[in-house]
Symmetry: C2
Subunit: 381 residues, 2 copies
Amino acid sequence: MAHAVAVSGVGETEYSRSSGRSALMLQLEASLSAIEDAGLTPKDIDGIIPLSAGTSIAEDFIANFGIPDLRFSAIIPMGGASTVAALQCAAAAISFGICKHVLLPAGRNGYSGARMAARITDQPHRRLIAEFETPIGAITAAQLYAPMARRHMEMFGTTSRQFAEIAVATRAHALLNERAMMKKEITVEDHQSSRLIADPFRLLDCCLESDGGAAIVVSAADRAKDLRKHPILVTGIAEGHPDSPSTITQRTDITTLGVAKAAVRAFAMAGITHDEIDVAQIYDCFTYIVLCQLEDLGFCKKGEGGPFVESGAIRLGGKLPVNTHGGLLSQAHIGGMNHVIELVRQLRREAGAAQVKDAATGLVTGFGDLGDGAVAIMQRA
Amino acid sequence: MAHAVAVSGVGETEYSRSSGRSALMLQLEASLSAIEDAGLTPKDIDGIIPLSAGTSIAEDFIANFGIPDLRFSAIIPMGGASTVAALQCAAAAISFGICKHVLLPAGRNGYSGARMAARITDQPHRRLIAEFETPIGAITAAQLYAPMARRHMEMFGTTSRQFAEIAVATRAHALLNERAMMKKEITVEDHQSSRLIADPFRLLDCCLESDGGAAIVVSAADRAKDLRKHPILVTGIAEGHPDSPSTITQRTDITTLGVAKAAVRAFAMAGITHDEIDVAQIYDCFTYIVLCQLEDLGFCKKGEGGPFVESGAIRLGGKLPVNTHGGLLSQAHIGGMNHVIELVRQLRREAGAAQVKDAATGLVTGFGDLGDGAVAIMQRA
């Protein structure tokens, strides 16, 4: 049943620090681009899952595009895991027979407009954090995730230089991508001398905040095969939530994320092994979150993420190229939709200078503020 | 595929004007009641779709109930259509194989806390209205829907006394229901002499604002058959959105709601005719909205809703008993979740004094602020 769904179109605006237009405009532009990429028109869209922390709803797209017969709409409030979790929701809506083409629009003025840190209390998924972590001084994402990274260092001997390797590898990939915002090469020493933000996170451990829009169209596979581009099948998809209680400081195991549960199910659904993954786009709000997910996904054992990345495994040419577009760390922060788009481009063989040769199977993850995770496995049809 | 899903449990708190506890508490209480009604425990829940206009998220239930392995979460921002549309989303998640038991919790302090009129600008689905209708003085729901009702009167000769019949029939049903807030019989003359709120709506055309919680559990049908209560199959389910633009004054046809599109699909999915519907729970924020939906659902032709209700058809003992619990007009306003629960009770033959004899097939609708609609057809297994 999972093989009944494909990504048929992808679209992006430019990524910048000042878009000069509204978040909705960015979403509409990226959506039109994705719809055109699929060889469809807006009237073909019959499902919409907006990804904007509640600022856009399906009716915004009906009103602006003149969509005549929308049959499904939802919002997935899972922070950075929302994008991939929305892909699961779209797959369910298509498989149940509700929709043929579901639009997933993302976009925000994350730098010039509502910056993440400023919005900390206006999202429902922040409320649990606000009850437990905010009173002890943790307000920004860097402060919230720092204890997870520090715990990992204490338990497993993980080092800041290992975090640095993730930043350096990701920046090297960004330099191959004309859509990436960061244009300057960095070294481990640059990372080590960048200023401390929230111990153990330094500036170069932290992702960007960006303006931009990004969108995909998810289609029934039997429709996608007749569309403009080579369809990319979604063969494994799952979301996972950490055990109760969900706040960071109150969780029994803060070095394991919801993605661990999702990964087991996604791999089982796809019926493939880890060796078959040619490329992975891993949600990278902070370097450590990539390291932790590599373990949770099963690419190495818990505690061995440091040596795994230090081996060069996640670089282009390595065992498991990760974030070949430059990720949230060096391309732009569009809620992880840019990760989904990069995976599709890799499997279409449209990834340009960062193309992983003969990429046929890949993986993309999302990570949300409360430890939520989602994993999608995609395969070239 | 639609027959693969059933409602396995229902639960409610008391309905009041002052609950004395938080909206989340009400949702948790109603949820526990629904889970127990199904013969399950919270640990069995693997999907959650909170229905509270974004104030609660899945993590609230994970944290409070200790749910170990949640696999699906979403929010449906369709105003009063959200409840039935969420049922469609739950059905998709179950049919796709993600979940076995999805919890749909609703609840708010709609009278003592955040009253509808006061929240008009804090919900994304109100934004389009705010751009077009608010500047001309329409702020509350009564003001927003009044032009629709007036238009219907002008086009089809519908009368205020016909609206009154809906209020009177619904109140008569409420008097049979110990959970209903309104305890006093009313007549058409009472309606006609009640004060004007927004022409043509009088006080008795308007629904209640209430405190309370209500929840259901939706299960895979093959699981539901082994649970405590007789499973009620969801055999037809769909949502529909009006054509663009979605605002009330800018729509080409303001006397047809999204429910018209949903109804065609829901009946086709269930494979039944209108004559087979034994009982209907129709979203009744205002009397007129019931009349309009009776037409949109196909129980009578467009423009004939007035004579249809005047014939006594919607009373217990009539051709199509409607809102046998007392509805939003006379039981309580719990976003329409109480309508879903009443349909399940009717089909289980647990509706007490308001029981429709041998009820085997029924229908429930939702109506959202932007004209969105959703329809579910349920059948006794």
